[in-house]
């Protein structure tokens, strides 16, 4: 149906991407009967001879080292269950909390609904994850606002070399932390937060379009 020549083209699961040849199958691509087949709906990309599909929609899959914004969903005497926006809740053991927590006192420290900035420590083969609050800047978030952008559009929020994020921060005069799970923490005054959120909403609505950068800049300049 197509050669790898048309990088950036929208592909549908099952689309043939041509003979394998010298190319390797990357993310969202499968080898079948000497051919490469797309397995996801997305845009085709090629890097170093590896053909992959950049999906237009995907669930967040935690990877070790990801900085994420999570919500406390439940707890036992020594662990919290954290909603990280993926298929499964992660666990946060008492020993990996930011400060000292006594056994049985998890609820006093962080109750259901608390928002935490944490890092993924490990992920097992079943996608079960352990998160940690030990590390620079990792903490319970007591102020500010959390907005969400689908995780596959995060690269649009950050932009090339972080330029997009930088200009959103400057224009809105807000502190922002971008979680890899698509949750973005914003802290600033009301008008700044509103501006940052409207920029994020543009990315949410039109993030897959090539002119997204100019659209966001348009909102920021307004």
């Amino acid at each position: 149906m197509s050669d790898s020549g048309d990088v950036g083209r929208l592909v549908i699961p099952g689309d043939s991407l041509g003979e394998i040849g010298e190319r390797r199958a990357g993310h969202g691509v499968l080898r079948r009967n000497g051919e490469l087949i797309a397995t996801r709906l997305g845009h085709l990309s090629e890097k170093g001879g590896e053909l992959s599909v950049h999906p237009v929609h995907t669930a967040y899959t935690p990877r070790p080292g990801d900085l994420i914004v999570g919500y406390v969903e439940g707890m036992r005497s020594n662990i919290w269950f954290i909603d990280i926006g993926g298929p499964f809740n992660a666990i946060l053991p008492m020993s990996l909390a930011a400060g000292k927590v006594d056994f049985g006192a998890t609820r006093e420290y962080m109750d259901v609904g608390s928002t935490v900035l944490c890092r993924v420590q490990e992920v097992d083969e079943n996608h079960g994850a352990v998160v940690t609050m030990k590390g620079m800047g990792l903490r319970k978030l007591n102020s500010g606002f959390v907005d969400t952008v689908p995780s596959h559009l995060l690269s649009r929020v950050v932009g090339v070399d972080g330029q997009m994020l930088k200009s959103i921060k400057e224009a809105s005069d807000c502190r922002m932390v971008v979680g890899q799970n698509g949750r973005i923490w914003i802290e600033g005054d009301a008008s700044g937060t509103r501006l940052a959120r409207s920029a994020l909403s543009v990315i949410r609505e039109a993030g897959h379009r090539p002119d997204i950068e100019s659209r966001v800049r348009g909102v920021l300049e307004e």
Partner: protein
Amino acid sequence: MLNEDGTRMDGRRPDELRKIEIEAGVVPVADGSARVQWGTNLAIAAVYGPMEAHPRKISRQDRCVLDVRYNMAPFSVTDRIRPGFNRRSREIGKVTANALESVVQLELYPRSKIRVEIEIMCAEAGTRCVGLTAASVALADAGIPMTDMVVSVASGRVNGVVVLDLNKEEDNYGDADLPMGILPNSGELVFLQMDGDLSPEDFQEAWDYNMGAAKEIHEIMVAALAARYGGDA
């Protein structure tokens, strides 16, 4: 039920499909969704997940489970259907799940569940095909990894003539019905049922009709997804 010039009651040729219209992304809160208008049939499919499998006993350590629910709205047919599960909806949910399991890369999401909800809003014959086609577009829209799309279409025999895509009268009073689920790129079969009897020759003819129609429907599915994401696939 056939006219003298060989056309059918609704004016179609024996190898002609009803008008099909597909739109992706119609349920904003779902991860993926699709609306399929197929003749008078109207189906909406929504996909949620992958998510944690509940109840726990249905989860599998090595793969994801597909939880497919097919439901006809009480107002979808002239004689009201009692809301809730019935024998027929369970059966169709199960065969739809089996068909989709052959293409969805379940091993990528162990212990998870993908919820597929198919709601038939208006039924005219061939709703299992419409539902399966809608579910396949909704799964692609949700970004679920699949090795191919599934296209479903039925052929049958009416007054001794094999015809494609039966309408209500042909389905109710015809001789036989052969719904199939086809992978349009590889030509493989993932779902086949037969209601009534077909001779080997008629079976072959119905098969060929379905295979040909699958390509046609696949193009409409691709166009629907391309329209949603602004591509030209």
